[in-house]
Symmetry: C2
Subunit: 352 residues, 2 copies
């Protein structure tokens, strides 16, 4: 951890704060003027030269002020910034849009994404829970219209998904009962990621003596249900917000940004690699694994059920992001999501 003396800390903080607010390179004189440091611009100039040498500041060109480097932002985030609290209004806003009356997890995260971008004015992300580890509680086959079967799988996380498949007509009810029991035996109590579709299909061939042609469609339906439950969806909001920032007046950059947002799989993978234990993760510029994001900062927060991290929410914006506010917002919203999820899935499921 990089240690700075008090004066350098004050000056670096002042520069980052100013730059976050103005997007203009910060000069020594304006630091002396706008902040009560009690030093002349000349002294500050010397300190700034030191900070630049240490790699914390950069100069766009000789006669401009300084701009924080990625490393500078990192020190700011880790050591210097003054933590912010949300205002009562902001908290109300979050509660209003997320509290109760939301019946589906997808809805909850969509709303969460909307409220994040509303409060932070950046582009927000929310990914639906990773349900690979959830346990199959029940699987039902329902005959509808004598040649179609509705397959329903239901997990301990309170999710049920269905798939409708056509089987040939004239299948005996007995055969359906046989395969239904088989599936129930094989699948109940195990997690989604443990399901091996091909061995399931193979073994079904062995136990079924009649009506074997129904195996393939039904197993496919089971696979479909499992995929539906396991697949993660990414919600975005406030994508147009990026245009509010002067550094993205450049069309090329804006286009690149939108292209990334359209690559949902890349977003999803970014969101997932938060190590356990870390509730909020800040990636500044070059720290992003994804190359196209090295002009951006990404802040993510995890949410969980029963202390297991299952998904995350986040914000993408310029490196010059208002870190204190975004971190405070995400931290609050992740707690609300945790609370709502446990309401939704736990004992209090009510009404819907």
């Amino acid at each position: 951890m990089l240690l700075l003396d008090d004066r350098k800390r004050k000056i670096l903080k002042a520069i980052v704060d100013d730059y976050i607010n103005t997007a203009e390179p910060v000069g020594s004189r304006s630091v002396a003027r706008r902040h009560e440091i009690g030093l002349s611009s000349a002294t500050i100039r010397n300190e700034m030269a030191d900070l630049e040498e240490m790699g914390l500041l950069e100069q766009p060109h000789t006669s401009a002020g300084r701009v924080p480097s990625d490393k500078g932002y990192r020190v700011y985030v880790d050591q210097l910034m003054t933590k912010r609290q949300l205002t009562a209004d902001e908290i109300d806003c979050i509660e209003d849009s997320l509290r109760s009356r939301i019946s589906e997890i997808e809805q909850l995260l969509k709303q969460a994404s909307a409220v994040i971008s509303e409060i932070t004015k950046y582009t927000s992300l929310a990914i639906t829970p990773q349900m690979n580890r959830s346990i199959i509680k029940a699987i039902k086959l329902i005959l509808v219209e004598d040649d179609k079967v509705l397959i329903v799988i239901f997990t301990n996380a309170g999710i049920a998904k269905n798939s409708l498949v056509k089987i040939g007509a004239g299948v005996s009810l007995d055969s359906l009962v046989v395969i239904a029991n088989y599936l129930s035996d094989r699948l109940t109590g195990i997690t989604l990621e443990m399901v091996n579709i091909e061995s399931l299909r193979f073994d079904a061939q062995r136990i079924m003596t009649r009506d074997r042609h129904i195996i393939d469609p039904i197993i496919n339906g089971v696979e479909d249900c499992i995929n539906q439950i396991a697949s993660a969806e990414v919600f975005l909001d406030g994508t147009a917000n990026i245009f509010n920032f002067p550094e993205f007046q450049d069309m090329m950059r804006a286009k690149k940004f939108l292209s990334i947002l359209n690559a949902k799989d890349i977003l999803a993978s970014m969101m997932f690699n938060s190590p356990q234990g870390e509730e909020i993760k800040v990636r500044i510029g070059i720290e992003n694994e994804v190359d196209e994001l090295k002009d951006f900062s990404l802040i993510t927060a995890t949410y969980s059920i029963d202390c297991e991290i299952i998904g995350s929410i986040g914000v993408i914006g310029p490196r010059r992001m208002h870190y204190p506010k975004v971190i405070a917002s995400l931290n609050h919203i992740r707690k609300v999501i945790n609370r709502e999820l446990s309401n939704l899935l736990g004992d209090d499921v009510e009404g819907q």
Copy 2:
């Protein structure tokens, strides 16, 4: 219908064609040069002055060439443009991404949207079917975990949606059978839009003598299922494509554009007001009802099941859109969607 003599038609067509390709105002000399009209630039100049007087062309400023007006584009689309056929490659591309192996209607339309923007290079839209008119075929209640009921509704359009609700523990199976039969009686055979949730709830109170506390959650679950089936979803693709056009280098315009794309409800309403009978509708600039779209052209095409229009796909781009290509693409894709939908829902539902 505006009638033009042959020479004016040729000149207007040449100007619109050139402007669509270059985005530069077209001058009399370049019309004379690039198209075989056999007239000098001076004559063409006179004709252009006439066309301007008729409101078909506009001049950005005195010493620039001419640009088509909305009315000019309209004449071009209705009378002048040479219809295009898709190339074999394009048709293959469409077939590859839409044919078979798609089990869900949502997937089909998502793919359709993707392929539209891939082929046209504009921003594409696809709205999921309006299912208000579909008929409820069956409704099932499944008891899971002795205090939760899974409600499944299944329609003639092959859609099944479920909702999981919690009822108090210790409900007798008899009560569940009573309400299941009641719901089945009341709902089977009617369309979604005919369902009156409140009268359903009210009458349930009358027929149920015991376990009345389960009525509210269950009716809410029914409502939830119906809403899930009836709600239309809008898929977008190629949103970043707008930046490829020089007329959208302007940030304000680009931002406005993205804002509209985020207002899914506005998009949905635009997509829906295609009168029956019209397969392809072209709205040019000012012809758009939505104010924010008056700098754009919107082309929509309907798709249907059993000859009833249930949804649409479309393209948004600059007024200077490549109309022949977009119209040909949408027309082809709508036919493929019709075909796939009838495969999906009709007799050929197979496996998945």
